[in-house]
Amino acid sequence: MLKSIKEKVLSGERLSREDGIELFNSGDIFSIGRLASFAAEERTGTKAFFIINRHINPTNICINRCKFCAFSRSKGDEGAFELTIEEILEKLATRNSAVGGILTSSTAKGRQKGDMTTHYNEVHVVGGLHPDWPFEHYLSMLAAIKKEYPSVAIKAFTAVEIDYMSKISGLSLEDVLRSLKRSGLDLMPGGGAEIFAAEVRNKLCPEKISGERWIEVMETAHNVGIKSNATMLYGHIERIEDRVDHLLKLRDLQDRTGGFQAFIPLSYHPKNTEIGGHYSSGLDDLKTIAISRLILDNFAHIKAYWIMLGEKVSQVALLFGADDIDGTIIEEKITHAAGAMTGQGLTKDQLMHLIRRAGKTPVQRDAYYNKVIS
């Protein structure tokens, strides 16, 4: 079993759609894990990356209300929130003993805070589609963060938010992305991809942009020099074929642009969502990581996002083809709204320990996968 796939992987030959389906249907997790490990080690050796990062969700108010989402609220709902730019800066300045306080703020106010400021390598900003915020608000948000923290990479706004900004501003995708970039946007996260298959997507998130549009936003971003990640939400109502097709679409775009840094499979979390259901199995999580590594031969990195998989399965995923476990995060709202059983953050020491115990070499990275000398 898996013999021809094994030969292909060992000889560097690209896997087909049929190969992907065969892998997902196979119960031979050990062979799949070994092949994926081989593929990962060819690219990154024994390294496993982590980052000192922080998540910020400017708002949970969203006009889309996707059925798999437990985070979003409508305006006026109980629990709806919107952060001011000042509040976002306050959050970024919150002391984080995990990573040590290195002063990076360039403003007088930031300097006064002294050791209250933390040296993040990256801030990850995603939020809902707010009905009232004008496009300029996003530009001001980026500019304010960049001014206060010029050395911190800003990874912000999913393709869904970019599409929305194009709608509310009347600007083309390209103009939106160029303006955001000028205001301080460095990278884009890979969220909002969900599952591209239209039939499934219409059931999950009928109001969200189509798979084609998601690809179009990413292609435009890559073309204006913004690198991004890519994701796939799995474990809800999709079929195996939908997963494979999703991966193939990403692989095609990556062939054209080379703009993706990492692929991040996201396991579905059922709590407090409209479609409900169950958590994906830990074995499915590991298989999905491994098969992603095998199919996405043009992606440099596969990330086992510990917030979603749990730190335990994420650690094991390092033996199934993943080479990145994300980072310190500090505060996570979206997955926790849907019943994440993980903590809010991990320390640098904890991340390094998990990586070492998996037999890998921990490498602290910046937003572009350069090693951080600290």
């Binding site: 050990f30 894990g33 169950h278 199995s281 074995l283 998989l309 399965v313 020491d349 037999g359």
Partner: protein, 357 residues
């Protein structure tokens, strides 16, 4: 099948690739349980008291007799818990507590009889430290103690209190708890009285790989003599709120400060589990511990040697006291087993299947 000796076990544990080790354990599991059934028991963990004179340093559950948080369940509280257990389809109660200085044999035999008079339920109760304590208190032999408890209604004995069966480790972890040979003696006597028991191992504290192999070896040797162990249950030390973790400067999962030791990781757990399955060739069942590892890793454990999902744990106090809490229903367990590719079945204490799902 070829039996693995200590030396090769140590080598496997320390050096082998984790996927190779897992695949080896998985093939043994498949050989022993070819039908792909994964079992679980519906039971309730009833801790009749938290008063304990042993004060083990890895434990966050015990209280001193004078503490304001000390408790001893009344019979009515106990009956309510059993009623609820039966209503949920439970077949067993796991009855365990601390070593309470004021409770004597009279208390225990009354407790057992009063349960058996009212309910048709299997009592899986009193780990070896409790049995040993009772025998010393009344100057009875272990055989006499066990036989008295058995006549009063005790069916089976849980394998707790084994921790690591190496006296070097026990002196540090639990200096007042019974030593390794006393634990084994209780089990051997119980088996001789035709009582079935489980065996556990708590690893991930201060033991060395050699201690783990020693633990597995004494369990395997006893099983060769008696055949009385139904299952082996390895779990990892949960450092939250324990004296040991404070002394070691150990970090609980959510701590953000200090430096020092860390809780056992998933990879370490899978390694110990797989080795247990490979080494314990005479014990039919190995449990995955979702209580300490979470459902997702417990599912992965089913491919690293485990064939049983333990208990639905209608109530669990001891691990929760150490800061670990996963809320899981029977439906969650059934679904978790199915989605891992296995056939879920409810079993009784003796691993007889009661119902397939």
């Amino acid at each position: 099948m070829h039996r693995i000796d200590k030396k090769s076990a140590l080598k496997l544990y320390k050096q082998s690739d984790i996927l190779e080790l897992g695949e080896h354990a998985d093939s043994i599991r498949r050989h022993l349980h070819p039908d792909g059934v994964v079992t679980f028991v519906v039971d309730r963990n009833i801790n009749y008291t938290n008063v304990c004179i042993n004060r083990c340093r890895f434990c966050a559950f015990y209280r001193d007799a004078g503490s304001s948080e000390a408790y001893l369940l009344t019979n009515d509280e106990l009956y309510t818990k059993i009623d609820e257990t039966i209503a949920l389809g439970g077949t067993q109660i796991l009855l365990q507590g601390g070593l309470h200085p004021d409770l004597d044999m009279h208390y225990y035999t009354n407790l057992l009889r009063s349960i058996k008079e009212r309910y048709s339920i299997i009592i899986h109760g009193f780990s070896p430290p409790e049995i040993f304590y009772l025998s010393k208190k009344h100057d009875l032999t272990l055989r006499e103690t066990l036989s008295t408890l058995k006549s009063a209604g005790l069916d089976s004995i849980p394998g707790g209190g084994a921790e690591i069966l190496s006296d070097r480790v026990r002196k540090v972890l639990s200096p007042k708890k019974i030593n390794s040979s006393a634990w084994l003696q209780v089990m051997e006597e119980a088996h001789a009285l035709d009582m079935r028991t489980t065996a556990t191992m708590m690893f991930g504290s201060i033991e060395k790989p050699e201690d783990i192999i020693e633990h597995l070896t004494v369990i395997r040797d006893l099983q060769d003599r008696t055949g009385g162990f139904t299952a082996f249950i390895p779990w990892s030390f949960q450092p939250g709120n324990t004296e040991l973790s404070k002394d070691l400067g150990m970090k609980s999962g959510k701590s953000r400060t200090g430096s020092g030791l860390f809780p056992t990781t998933a990879v370490d757990y899978l390694r110990a589990l797989a080795l247990s399955r490979i080494y314990l060739d005479n014990i039919p069942n190995v449990q995955a511990s979702w209580v300490t590892q979470g459902l997702k890793l417990a599912q992965v454990a089913l491919r690293f040697g485990a064939n049983d999902f333990g208990s639905t744990m209608i109530e669990e106090n001891v691990v929760r006291a150490a800061g670990v809490s996963y809320q899981v229903s029977r439906e969650d367990i059934v679904h978790a087993i199915k989605s891992a590719g296995f056939k879920p079945a409810q079993r009784n204490t003796y691993y007889k299947i009661i119902r397939y799902f």
